[in-house]
Amino acid sequence: MTIVKPINTVCVVDDDEIYVYGIKKLINLKQLCPNLIEFRNGKDAIEFLMNPENNDQLPDVIFLDITMPIMDGWDFMDNYAKIKPQLSKKITVYMVSSSINDEDIKRAKAIADITDYVVKPVSYDKLLKLFQLAA
């Protein structure tokens, strides 16, 4: 199983440790991508992206949860829109949540920087598609 090269780094922003463990394990197992960075809330992720020192470590894909402490997924997107022009790389953002609430889905679709809304759980097939789409 080979995956298109460009995806070098994936970033998971989620406070659900089991989910993050699962994603990490799956990516390693299937060798989908060599680097993975993880954050437990939106604020830590934004701070990482903003820091010019991290320029060469910027992710290709972000899997963003909605419900998180300190800074949730929505607030993250507000801040992301502000810092996006300074980023040296095009990043694909997927919103990944257990919520099947219509309001959440509509709200995510209305945000231009979000490529798609993905309902958890994320299966291997789904993950693969997301990687291909982002490549």
Partner: protein, 508 residues
């Protein structure tokens, strides 16, 4: 001339019977009386003898001579039964005190039922100076009288209707600044009807927040010919605050200028209070609805996230071959199973709130609950070095559901300890007070504080946590709020980041 004629009738030396003859032979007198449409009558005061002139008979639809020349029969048969006593009394008072005899009475016409007539007359002395007879005339006032009665009835009806509807009319002359109120408006203001009223003291009856509104509306009506229709509060002369509706319409002259305002003024207090109450219920209901819906989403989200993880781990378990990995995944599955049980326990707690509402309220002492809570968490208190003090002297007791009060104390004190500031020892002050008949309970801390502008609407949401804190589960405040609101209270938060947070609870 007529005076002379009457004089000559009264002084007629030939006696009673001669009168008719004289009347009939006096052509001039006859014509004169015909022309005024006045029928003449004459009666003896001492006997029942009477005489009715041709015009008199004609006015009642009879031929001359058809009416019996008997006063008693006239009273019994021709005068309306309801009027005969009044006629008799008027006669008596004329004879005794010489008050003018002038009555309005109903007489039975020959063919058209009762008609209204005005009858007036005068008693005349005979040659010995005795008052022996009365002479007078009647005129037909039927149309006028019927209109009058109709008008009066309408007026009474209008007034009664106004009274029932608590509605009055008013008019304001923009030139003279004269303000006229109908009686019902005085009633609504609980004012004496003869009180002097003008625009400025009328406006002063309005409660302060509404004075500007009514002043602006009146000015707009006068200057821009704009009608208004407002529901406002006034304070009556007896200090009762009531809701009224006031409607004003400009009266415009041919130049398009407002010359007067006319309008209605209605007491709508009861209806308005009911409406407001209904509004409150609707607000409360939609609030509850919103909370329920929010709750349903939370349940769905939380259960889904656990089952999703479970599915995820089971699938992964099948993929991995290393024993180490399998062990790790199994541990995760165990964690999920525990979390699932916890989540369901939380949901149970929330569902229980609704069923516990029926629990008996009791007279509870704040101090007991405060002490019990401190005892229950004394480990936590000692560990954090917290200073927790209370002052319940302003309001030592409340009638409340014991389980809820316990939960409020426990949740808010542990919440304050949980979000303590790392640089200082926690201080919590817990107080009660009474305001406008409501019992308030407050918890003030010197903790981390929270950015309300950012999170204000989410503080009491389920699983909402705002700090990097391992203990933060975000269920406590959600439950506390639901319990408080289920008993009709409210909970509010005031907070400054790095200074502290105060929760203000209106219990009842």
């Amino acid at each position: 001339m007529s005076d002379e004629t009457y004089m000559s009738i009264g002084d007629n030396p030939m006696g009673f019977y001669a009168l008719a003859d004289q009347y009939l032979v006096n052509q001039q007198l006859h014509n004169l009386i015909e022309s005024t449409n006045t029928g003449l009558w004459e009666r003896s005061i001492t006997t029942n003898e009477a005489w009715w002139s041709p015009k008199f008979c004609e006015l009642l639809g009879y031929a001359y001579g058809e009416l019996e020349s008997n006063y008693l029969i006239f009273i019994q048969k021709i005068v309306h039964p309801h009027d005969s006593e009044m006629v008799f009394n008027a006669f008596q008072s004329h004879l005794k005190t010489n008050t003018p005899y002038k009555v309005e009475l109903r007489l039975l016409t020959k063919a058209n039922g009762y008609h209204w007539y005005e009858s007036s007359g005068k008693a005349w002395p005979d040659k010995d100076g005795e008052l022996t007879r009365m002479i007078g005339g009647i005129i037909d006032i039927d149309t006028k009288k019927r209109n009058e009665i109709k008008l009066k009835r309408n007026e009474i009806q209008l007034r009664e209707n106004n009274k029932i509807a608590h509605i009055g009319g008013w008019e304001f002359d923009t030139k003279t600044n004269d303000l006229f109120w109908s009686p019902e408006i005085y009633e609504i203001h609980e004012l004496d009807h003869d009180t002097d009223i003008n625009v400025s003291n009328a406006i002063n009856f309005y409660e302060p927040p509404y004075r500007n509104i009514i002043t602006t509306a009146v000015n707009n009506a006068i200057e821009h010919c704009k009608a208004y229709d407002l529901e406002l509060q006034i304070k009556t002369a007896k200090d009762n605050v009531i809701w009224i509706r006031t409607k004003g319409v400009p009266i415009i002259d041919e130049h398009g200028k407002c010359i007067a305002l006319r309008g209605i003024f209605q007491n709508i207090n009861e209806a308005k209070l009911r409406e407001l109450e209904l509004h409150n219920s609707v607000d409360l209901l939609s609030d509850q609805n919103r909370r329920l819906q929010n709750f349903a989403h939370i349940v769905s989200h939380n259960l889904r996230s656990h089952t999703g993880n479970l599915q995820f781990m089971v699938n992964l378990f099948e993929e991995v071959s290393e024993v180490e990995d399998q062990k790790e995944i199994f541990n995760n599955i165990r964690t999920i199973s525990e979390s699932l049980a916890n989540t369901i326990e939380h949901l149970n707690q929330i569902v229980k709130i609704q069923t516990e509402i029926s629990n008996e309220k009791q007279e509870l002492h704040f101090e007991d609950f405060f002490n019990n809570t401190i005892n229950a968490i004394d480990n936590n208190v000692a560990e954090t070095g917290a200073i927790i003090c209370c002052d319940f002297t302003s309001c030592p007791t409340v009638n409340y559901v014991p389980a809820y009060l316990e939960s409020i104390f426990l949740n808010l004190i542990t919440n304050a300890l949980k979000y303590r500031h790392p640089d200082r020892k926690p201080q919590i002050i817990c107080e009660t007070y009474l305001e406008l008949g409501h019992t308030y309970l407050t918890f003030a801390d010197n903790g981390l504080g929270i950015d309300l502008e950012k999170y204000g609407d989410k503080v009491f949401g389920m699983y909402k946590t705002f700090h990097k804190n391992a203990n933060a589960k975000g269920i406590g405040l959600f439950i506390t709020r639901n319990q408080i609101e289920s008993l009709g209270g409210t909970i509010k938060i005031e907070s400054t980041v790095n200074v502290g947070t105060t929760f203000i609870i209106k219990l009842i």
